[in-house]
């Protein structure tokens, strides 16, 4: 080997050694000696402290040769602490394996906690600042106690169940979804508040329903299912949602196949105003019962009634946001912030959003008409 080659090899080796302090065996723990935290549910105790339930993996060995993950693979550890920072050491003191937060998939806040402005800020800030928690974890608000969600008996891993639901159903869920990083973004950037899906125990399973509307760190109230649908359309989501609508010939059923929304800011006598146009491509899956044969005119009729229905639902959602909750989760303020920065400077969005004149329009295209003939 030439001297040059030796020197090159030596330099490479040096580079390798220099990179070593970045990680190594000193903090290595075998995966089987880890307790992976998949979900965490946080409630407010009556005395103002936090009741935190962590759902960790725990392979059950039993007496059998093959271990099994189901049932009893998940174990819930509940601790009561004044702040979130004390949770992990306390949970660790009850587990033989090392707690690993990086597989956290679902964070469920109890409704009471979410509405408590001080506590919610404490909890969310700790979560966002945690270096080990995965910021793609989903954030949900429980109708009632969050701990109950993680203790649904028929689901082996309720936290993973929720995660898989959001992963698999994607856009067609009837609720918006909120990852931890999106929450962070809503807080640090102006003009848009966060909205988290609601979750509740439905018999033996878990159901997502309704939307928890935030203002800053804390929750201000719920949107019901219909309002949530309107909100989804205003957000350009809600693909796959089906709904029935009244026509003169009876109830028709329409499913949204593609949705898009355009938020167009304008000024109305120096005051900000907003045009919201929802574009929706739908499929008529149920024709109105008193419509025998379907002609083009009939389709035009169904289309028009669909537009009216979409506009009506969006109006309901907008009214709830502007009048009842006074929180801009659609992100209309963000539109002004980006496209009319000079105007935005003059606005106080907290006060201006509830008074914002909004023109709601729906443009519907119906496809696959042949399905009805």
């Amino acid at each position: 080997m030439t001297r040059r080659a030796t020197r090159a090899l030596f330099l490479l080796a040096l580079l390798a050694v220099a990179a070593l302090p970045a990680g190594g065996c000193w903090d290595a723990v075998d995966l089987k000696d880890r307790a992976l935290v998949f979900g965490v549910a946080i409630d407010r105790a009556p005395d103002g402290r936090l009741v935190t339930t962590m759902q960790v993996s725990q392979p059950a060995m039993g007496g059998q040769t093959r271990p099994t993950i189901f049932p009893g693979a998940a174990r819930n550890v509940t601790v009561v602490t004044p702040t979130l920072n004390e949770v992990v050491p306390l949970v660790q003191s009850m587990l033989s394996q090392a707690v690993l937060l990086s597989h956290l998939r679902a964070i469920i806040l109890g409704e009471e906690l979410a509405r408590d402005a001080g506590l919610a800020e404490l909890v969310l800030e700790t979560l966002m600042r945690s270096p080990s928690a995965d910021d793609s974890a989903f954030l949900l608000v429980a109708h009632g106690r969050a701990q109950d969600i993680l203790e649904v008996p028929t689901q082996p891993f309720p936290a993973l169940f929720l995660n898989d639901m959001f992963d698999n159903a994607g856009q067609s869920l009837p609720v918006p979804r909120l990852a931890l990083w999106e929450m962070l973004r809503a807080i640090e950037m102006p003009g848009r508040e966060a909205c988290a899906p609601g979750v509740r125990v439905a018999g033996t399973t878990i159901q997502v329903t309704g939307t928890a509307v935030f203002d800053g760190f804390h929750m201000v109230g719920w949107l019901d299912d219909v309002e949530t649908r309107g909100l989804l359309w205003m957000l350009g989501r809600g693909t796959g949602l089906s709904f029935s609508l009244p026509t003169p010939a009876g109830q028709a059923g329409v499913q949204a196949v593609r949705t898009r929304v355009m938020l167009r800011p304008r000024t109305d006598g120096g005051r900000p105003a907003m045009d919201v146009t929802a574009r929706l491509v739908g499929v008529v899956f149920r024709k109105p019962p008193r419509m025998r044969t379907i002609t083009s005119r009939d389709f035009a009729l169904i289309r028009r009634y669909t537009e009216l229905e979409v506009e009506r639902v969006m109006k309901r959602a907008l009214d709830a946001l502007q009048k009842r909750l006074m929180s801009d989760v659609v992100g209309m303020g963000r539109v002004f912030y980006y496209r009319r920065p000079a105007l935005w400077e003059k606005l106080n969005w907290q006060e201006d959003f509830p008074r914002l004149p909004v023109r709601l329009r729906a443009r519907v295209t119906l496809e696959r008409k042949g399905l009805l003939r």
């Binding site: 030439t2 070593l20 970045a22 065996c25």
Partner: protein
């Protein structure tokens, strides 16, 4: 008066070159047999036999004309071996003269020795020796022996060497030179399927242990006048033959010279392929990477020669060393070229991926599992936890145990008679693995990972690369267990740096990646269709870079031909028919055409009835 004195009296008075007065086949010859004062210059042997004395070699340590003395010396030396036969007889053309046949039992064709040498020598034929101007050896080799390839020599060492090589020596009393007749015939393997490089399609012939057969196999595939075979005899004790094969029109002369120089510098007592290897890898003798490809396949050898490389073959070895080689040559298989190019294009990436897996997979597994658990998606993490629950060892120990077990199994399988292979596979692979998993000694995931690694390690068509891969997996594993992915990257950097500096006979080991010939990569990571493989690798500096001409013209021609329904043969035939009988046969032909038009006589697939 003995025939010896008679002959010497008859011939001794002749002037040098006297025998040339009569026209003789074989050109001017000099009768040196009975004249000791003559200079035994090379190429001027006596008799019909070409002289085999090497210039500068000390001739006649043993005086061959001293028959008794020769036999005594011979029997005290080489002749002590029991397999060496010394058969004494009296010559048929001169009953007073003794002669000895010397050969090695088992290496000669007994039929040739008996029928073509011994019997003619014993047959009385008195008049033969009396022809004037001819030595006894000349007479014997030209008129008595019916064997071909007869040489005469006065060099005792050379005689012994030839005897040990399977030739038969005839020592005649009173003659200064001995006759050496090619009678080699020993049992050897015929060409069989190349076991280390099996294939499904293409040629099924592999090299054998006989050098001449191997050269023939290559020559059959490259019937070029410029295929050169350079034979070198090497080995102070073993006297092995080493052949250098190259194509003079293509291979760079500097490359050939360098290979020749390196091979010629071998100082070993016995030359084996391993010895040749040692001198050929003088670039960096300690590298774990094989610096040249050795192959068992004549077709692969031929195609590499046509790329401008040099093949080195050693007698008694069924492999040819091809050099220079790049790393990528070990991932090429001759089968890539005997099937559709899609096949090669699919398999090449598979091989590279498998090689990467074979080196990196255990390290990656250990690194991710013990140092970077956050990299694992949660679903996989769950199943890993389930799989590994209750196993006592950390992943690195598991991986090491299993890798060792795979090595042991493989080594045992190589030495095992083939009939016991299935037993080993069952007991070693299935029973042992299953039991180990059931007993929770190792986790089933580790078993899967290491089994995949073990299989991937076998995928390189160049067998030697497999050893490298099996070796390299360990540093990666150890680095990964200590430093995680950073350790993998660090070792990877060192390996890549080492590879980039390697040379095989002066050619960069990473070939086109180093020289920047990106065009050549179409025959590295994929196998492009033949028409686009137009150039030889320029990093070999071949004398002729272009492998085939431009294909565009040919392709256009082909398209034109394809538009014509019957491009070849039909029209001249029709003319022929019209010439013969304008009305009869051509009319019949048109009738077959179905429309009878004079212009449209070509039967096409569309309108033919």
């Amino acid at each position: 008066m003995g025939i010896r004195s008679l002959l010497s009296r008859v011939l001794g008075r002749r002037q040098p070159g006297g025998g040339d007065r009569r026209p003789q086949a074989g050109g001017p010859r000099r009768d040196a047999a009975n004249r000791r004062d003559l200079d035994p210059a090379p190429g001027r042997g006596d008799g019909a036999a070409p002289d085999r004395e090497a210039p500068g070699k000390k001739a006649l340590d043993v005086d061959l004309s001293d028959y008794e003395g020769f036999l005594r010396t011979f029997r005290r030396g080489v002749g002590k071996s029991d397999d060496i036969v010394v058969h004494e007889m009296r010559l048929g053309i001169d009953r007073r003269r003794r002669a000895a046949l010397v050969f090695v039992d088992g290496m000669v064709d007994r039929r040739v020795v008996g029928d073509d040498i011994a019997r003619p020598l014993l047959t009385p034929a008195k008049r033969l020796g009396l022809a004037p101007g001819r030595s006894l050896l000349q007479v014997i080799s030209e008129q008595v022996l019916s064997a071909t390839q007869v040489h005469s020599t006065g060099d005792y060492d050379w005689v012994v060497d030839r005897i040990l090589g399977g030739d038969t020596a005839v020592i005649i009393e009173g003659q200064k030179r001995a006759l050496v007749i090619d009678t080699k015939r020993f049992l050897h393997r015929g060409p069989e399927r190349p076991l280390s490089e099996l294939n499904v399609k293409g040629s099924f012939e592999g090299f054998t242990e006989v050098l001449k057969v191997n050269i023939t196999q290559v020559r059959r595939r490259v019937r070029s006048a410029s295929l050169r075979v350079k034979m070198i005899t090497l080995g102070r004790k073993s006297h092995n033959q080493v052949a250098l094969l190259y194509i003079e029109e293509i291979a760079n002369p500097a490359l050939v010279r360098e290979v020749e120089r390196r091979v010629g510098s071998i100082q070993h007592e016995a030359v084996t392929l391993q010895a040749v290897v040692q001198c050929l890898i003088a670039d960096s003798p300690l590298t774990p990477f094989p610096l040249f490809r050795d192959t068992e396949r004549p077709d692969f050898t031929a195609s590499e020669l046509l790329d401008g490389k040099v093949a080195v073959m050693v007698d008694n070895t069924a492999f040819a060393a091809i050099l220079p080689s790049t790393l990528f040559d070990f991932v090429r298989s001759s089968e890539d070229y005997s099937a559709l190019f899609w096949g090669g294009t699919l398999l090449r990436p598979v091989r590279y991926i498998a090689l990467l897996l074979a080196v990196l997979l255990p390290g990656l597994y250990v690194a991710v599992l013990s140092v970077h658990p956050t990299f694992i998606p949660h679903n996989l993490a769950l199943s890993i936890i389930v799989s590994r629950a209750g196993t006592p060892f950390p992943p690195v120990i598991e991986a090491a145990i299993l890798l060792l077990a795979v090595e042991i199994l493989r080594e045992a399988a190589v030495r095992l008679p083939s009939a016991m292979g299935p037993t080993l596979a069952t007991v070693g692979g299935i029973v042992l693995g299953q039991a180990a998993v059931n007993a929770r000694v190792v986790s089933d995931l580790s078993l899967i990972i290491i089994a995949l690694t073990g299989i991937a390690q076998l995928i390189a068509p160049g067998f030697e690369l497999g050893f490298t891969v099996r070796l390299l997996v360990w540093p990666f594993l150890i680095a990964a267990s200590i430093f995680g992915l950073l350790g993998l990257v660090a070792v990877g950097l060192v390996v890549v740096g080492h590879l980039a500096g390697l040379e095989s006979v002066g050619v960069p080991y990473l070939g086109p990646l180093i020289t920047g010939e990106w065009m050549l990569l179409r025959d590295v990571f994929i196998r492009a269709p033949f028409q686009s493989l137009r150039f030889r690798p320029a990093y070999l500096w071949p004398l002729d870079v272009r492998k085939q001409g431009r294909v565009a013209a040919r392709r256009a021609e082909g398209r034109r031909a394809a538009r014509e329904p019957f491009p070849v043969g039909i029209e001249p035939m029709e003319e022929l028919l019209q010439e013969e009988s304008p009305s009869g046969a051509a009319a019949a032909w048109r009738g077959h055409d179905g429309n009878g038009e004079p212009g449209g006589t070509r039967p096409t697939g569309e309108d033919g009835s």
